[in-house]
Symmetry: C2
Subunit: 141 residues, 2 copies
DNA sequence: TTGAACCCTCACATATATGTGAGGGTCAAC
DNA sequence: GTTGACCCTCACATATATGTGAGGGTTCAA
């Protein structure tokens, strides 16, 4: 497929697809007329890139972890220098931290929405303790 | 505490703490000499903000969800307009998508690391098999 | 009373991801 | 053979989060 179709199917501007290519996250074949040509695999690949970008990973890091996400991944073993593996372990751990942070906060938002939809109403009898609770309000972020 | 201590305890530059204040993510009291004064709660609050920023949420959104994360949150219920609740639901869903994307990719990285460490340990104590795999590797390229 | 170590505001600079548009090919349909 | 919908490169613009530094006040201890 050409860039326009990939753009529509991944909801990503042509500009960005060319940018990702420039940043070497993807590679494109070229048709005789110079047009870029992509095969089906790129739909998922681009959506994966977008997901990771949206989750806060910079292109520099995405470029490093993408090769590990290919299956079969054996081809990429030889590229794995010890420094690279260290980077990957660090990134894996950062991703886990991000996940936990997101889960905690998503659950808070979720709880909030649940309580609102249950029809919470201000109860003057419970306002007494508010000050005390404020003290240990934010935990573990 | 003053901004320097908060900065050290949250590993966040003074510049950014002032920026978060300008963006109304946090508020500071002022001492008579004009210095900012923070109480303990801000340590967690700032770390929460940093976690969310790192997870890809823009300040605009963080500003909207932060009030829901306060406990007790009752104070903020009356502010919840229907549009606001819609935004929150959308953000909750986006956070869930981010979480799933991160988990998928983290697990892939993790699997990769596991396989590398099973087959090819850069650790000098366990280098037995490396030679064969290196041969394979080079012919695959 | 001087100096170090804080703090203030303000402004300009940088990196990253993204938008926009100019100037110009390619190609299929009318 | 003209038109419209694609594609190309290149360059400039924008938004967001962050760094850096100038110019200047405050506090405290030697």
């Amino acid at each position: 497929m050409r860039i326009g179709e990939l753009s529509e199917r991944t909801n990503t501007s042509r500009r960005l697809l060319r940018y990702y290519e420039e940043q070497m996250l993807i590679v494109s074949a070229r048709m005789p007329n110079g047009y870029r040509e992509y095969d089906e695999r790129f739909v998922d690949r681009v959506m994966q890139i977008r997901g990771l970008l949206d989750a806060g990973l910079p292109i520099r890091i995405i470029k490093q972890i993408l090769p590990c996400l290919d299956k079969p991944r054996t081809i990429h073993f030889p590229d794995a220098t010890p420094e690279m593996l260290d980077t990957l372990r660090r990134e894996r751990d950062r991703m886990t931290e991000r996940i936990n942070c997101l889960i905690r906060n998503r659950d808070s938002v979720s709880d909030y929405l649940d309580e609102v939809s249950k029809g919470w109403r201000p109860d003057p009898d419970q306002e007494r303790d508010r000050h005390d609770e404020l003290i240990d309000a934010h935990s573990a972020n």
